[in-house]
């Protein structure tokens, strides 16, 4: 029996196991939406901005380990997805973005709401397609999901002209793929693994740098065994947090610009770095010329193009981390590294900037710590971008695998609310906390309506400093305290929530923090807390841009900032 392109799309989505689609309709996707009622197993969540659809699908994908799906109409709908697609690309999240396109006869004629979305997205997708023949549609969807979800995951966009959605064809879902240019290396090369094991067995001051690849590969157990067997301390990239228990004796926390002194010092003094599922982002490495000057480098990653891209690597191992670690665990020796680990313990202490000050002020570090205490770490934390993100990274203890969902590579303000929405839809049984910046929250605030319409119980903590705080901090430290246009006039967020039918509380004092968090947790639905924090609180330490990781600034070490203005 013949089916329309729209039906073929839906049939294919069902075959791929899709359960949720985030999107907004428009002329060029109407045929698709018109068929949705025939496929009740596909839940469509109507968002309020396509950026929200893409971030929600991204959040959903990160916690379910399967592709998130978003859909938008041609032209403005498609361009509104761009930030979300770029974000998924930078953070290797599997995303399938479906866009409507003007009908094939008018493509290239500047028709109403025509944009070349495949052209626009080339640099920010793993792959994309413009489907001009309905006979290609099922095959394209199959390829798209395969590409998005395998190897190093990433976004794939499928642009479908309206007439292709309406054209008729028999539906046959192919069972074979024909992708001669796409190969995934999943087993590490035995000779490379052997070399890596040798270096690990010989190292005296080894450090692991744990990236999100461990989470993508779901290699938590093998990774823990690896670190414990060889007694190697673990530093994390931002997105590598929650790949290893944050309360483990070997855990050093986050490295990089706002990393802990012990993580940064350990990396800088290491004789061997074992970088796993990470890509040496400059926020993590600081100045690459001065990065880990004494270290030999083992780099384990599924993407061969990451090897040697930013940091020269002595032993690359290309493969799926889970497989590589299983093989490696058999070849590494039990070690203790007593001297090295006790040296690292020294770096842990004596940094007042790490501690939460005893004061009457409402401090963001305290708020995050109390969210941790209230949940005992059994929650998924979705952050915004800026200071709130760094406080969430540093003061929550990530003991639950894959419990930090944050936009690391692109850093788009406004990620927090829609991503938290997608996370909660993907994991309805989990407690989901959205740690928002007062600035970023206003970039996607309209998704409060989606929370209410779809009954999505996200707990929102606005870390409200009345500033574009991270930028203000840079103005304070690097631009002579000239606060140019970083001060925010803010609306009453509690009233706003109320207008969206979401209860909320404003918290201005320390003693109100715990009761407010309790109240939010007890309430069955979405809940918002507006925490009016100390406006000029900073996140420390900070490695000034372009500096080596060893030169982190804390207020007690003013010399690091000299000459930086």
């Amino acid at each position: 029996m013949k089916k329309t392109g729209a039906q073929i799309l839906c049939e294919s989505l069902v075959k791929e196991g899709v359960e949720v689609i985030f999107g907004i309709l428009g002329g060029a996707v109407l045929p698709i939406y018109d068929t949705f009622p025939q496929y009740p197993q596909l839940r469509h969540i109507l968002v309020r901005h396509e950026q929200g659809a893409a971030h929600a699908a991204d959040g959903y994908a990160r916690v379910t380990h399967k592709a998130g799906v978003c859909i938008a109409t041609s032209g403005p709908g498609a361009t509104n997805l761009v930030t979300g697609i770029a974000n998924a690309y930078m953070d290797s999240a599997p995303l399938v973005a479906i866009t409507g396109q003007v009908a094939t006869p008018v493509i290239g004629k500047d028709a109403f709401q025509e944009t070349d979305i495949t052209g626009i997205t080339i640099p920010i997708v793993k792959h994309n397609y413009l489907v001009t023949d309905v006979a290609e549609l099922a095959k394209t969807v199959k390829e798209a999901f395969h590409i998005a979800q395998t190897g190093r995951p990433g976004p794939v966009l499928i642009d479908i002209p309206r007439d292709v959605q309406q054209a008729q064809k028999d539906f046959v879902y192919p069972d074979k793929l024909d992708l001669p240019g796409y190969r995934v290396v999943s087993r590490g090369h035995p000779a490379q693994i052997k070399k890596a094991a040798k270096l690990i067995n010989e190292a005296e001051q080894p450090v692991i740098i744990a990236g999100r690849g461990i989470i993508i590969s779901q290699a938590y157990d093998g990774f823990k065994e690896f670190a414990e067997k060889a007694q190697i301390p673990v530093a994390h990239t931002l997105l590598g947090l929650s790949s290893f228990p944050g309360n483990h004796i070997l855990d050093l926390g986050m490295m990089g610009m706002h990393g802990t002194p012990c993580a940064n010092m350990a990396v800088q003094n290491a004789d061997l770095l074992i970088a796993i599922g990470m890509r040496f982002d400059d926020r993590a490495t600081g100045n690459t010329k001065e990065f880990a000057p004494h270290a030999r480098v083992i780099h384990i990653d599924i993407d061969p193009a990451e090897i040697g891209k930013n940091i020269p690597t002595e032993v690359p191992v290309v493969g799926d981390i889970k497989n590589v670690l299983t093989a490696l665990n058999e070849q590494i020796e039990r070690k203790e590294h007593v001297a090295w680990l006790s040296q690292i313990e020294q770096w842990r202490y004596g940094h007042p900037s790490l501690e939460i000050r005893q004061s009457d002020e409402l401090l963001p570090q305290y708020i995050i710590q109390q969210i941790y205490e209230a949940t005992q770490g059994d929650a998924l934390v979705v952050t915004g971008v800026g200071q709130n993100q760094m406080w969430a990274a540093r003061y929550f203890v990530y003991t639950k695998p894959n419990s930090l969902i944050s936009a690391g590579g692109l850093g788009p303000m406004g990620f927090e609310l829609p991503a938290a929405m997608g996370v909660k839809v993907g994991c309805p049984e989990e407690v989901v906390w959205c740690v928002a910046g007062d600035g970023g929250f206003q970039m996607t605030i309209q998704e409060l309506a989606t929370l209410t319409q779809e009954n999505i119980a996200v707990k929102i903590a606005i870390i409200n400093n009345g500033y574009l705080g991270m930028v203000r901090q840079w103005q304070e430290l690097f631009y002579g305290r000239r606060y140019v246009d970083t001060k925010l006039w803010n609306p009453d967020f509690v009233k706003i929530a109320e207008a969206y039918d979401i209860p909320g509380l404003r918290v201005t004092r320390r003693e109100e923090v715990i009761p407010a968090i309790q109240k939010a947790m007890e309430y069955p639905g979405a809940f918002l807390i507006d925490f009016l924090i100390e406006p000029e609180e900073n996140i420390y330490p900070i490695v000034p841009p372009g500096e080596s990781l060893a030169r982190f600034f804390e207020p007690s070490k003013p010399e690091v900032l000299e000459g930086k203005l």
Binding site: T118, G119, I122, P123, K126, H127, L130, I147, L179, P180, G181, Y182, D303, P304, A305, I307, G308, K309, P312
Partner: protein
């Protein structure tokens, strides 16, 4: 590390937009390419692309791996160090008068090039060879006055049975 010319040969799927993806990759990652030539290959549905990239070996290895990551690119090899045949073709329209015409024809003969068009004020020369040969012919013809030049960029294959 030193910058040298590398010859990369790739098999790419013959599909719409593939060149756009490749060009976009070179631009986005600031890879410095000197030439790019694409045409049919022995496999139906696949084209062979030859590109000359300038950089140190680590940079060129990045280019190769990034190219290989493109879904429509099937295989990329850096054949610089291998025994290869590399050729380029140029069409050169040179000014010619009654008094210079025979001198130009002599030069063309020495280079085993061909005259493919004769017009009242000009001759068009077709020449094939490696870049050095093309450069020296161009150098000699420059004295007569060059009106137009079109070069294809390098195409290359490894020699013998290796593939």
């Amino acid at each position: 590390m030193t910058n040298t010319k590398h010859t990369l040969v790739a098999l790419v799927e013959d599909k719409p937009g593939v060149l756009n993806r490749i060009a976009s990759l070179f631009r986005r990652r600031s890879f410095n390419i000197q030439s790019l030539a694409v045409g049919g290959s022995e496999h139906p549905g696949l084209s062979r692309m030859t590109t000359v990239v300038v950089g140190d070996s680590a940079q060129v290895e990045q280019v190769r791996k990034q190219l290989e990551k493109l879904i429509n690119v099937v295989k990329v090899s850096d054949i610089t160090e291998e025994d290869m045949v590399a050729r380029e073709l140029a069409l050169i329209k040179v000014k010619a008068t009654a008094s210079t015409r025979s001198e130009i024809m002599q030069i063309v003969d020495i280079f085993r090039a061909n005259i493919v068009d004769v017009a009242p004020g000009s001759l068009t020369v077709e020449v094939t060879g490696d870049e050095d040969k093309l450069d020296s012919l161009l150098g000699l013809l420059r004295d007569f006055g060059i009106k137009e030049v079109s070069r294809t960029g390098r195409i290359a294959l490894t020699r013998g049975s290796s593939s």
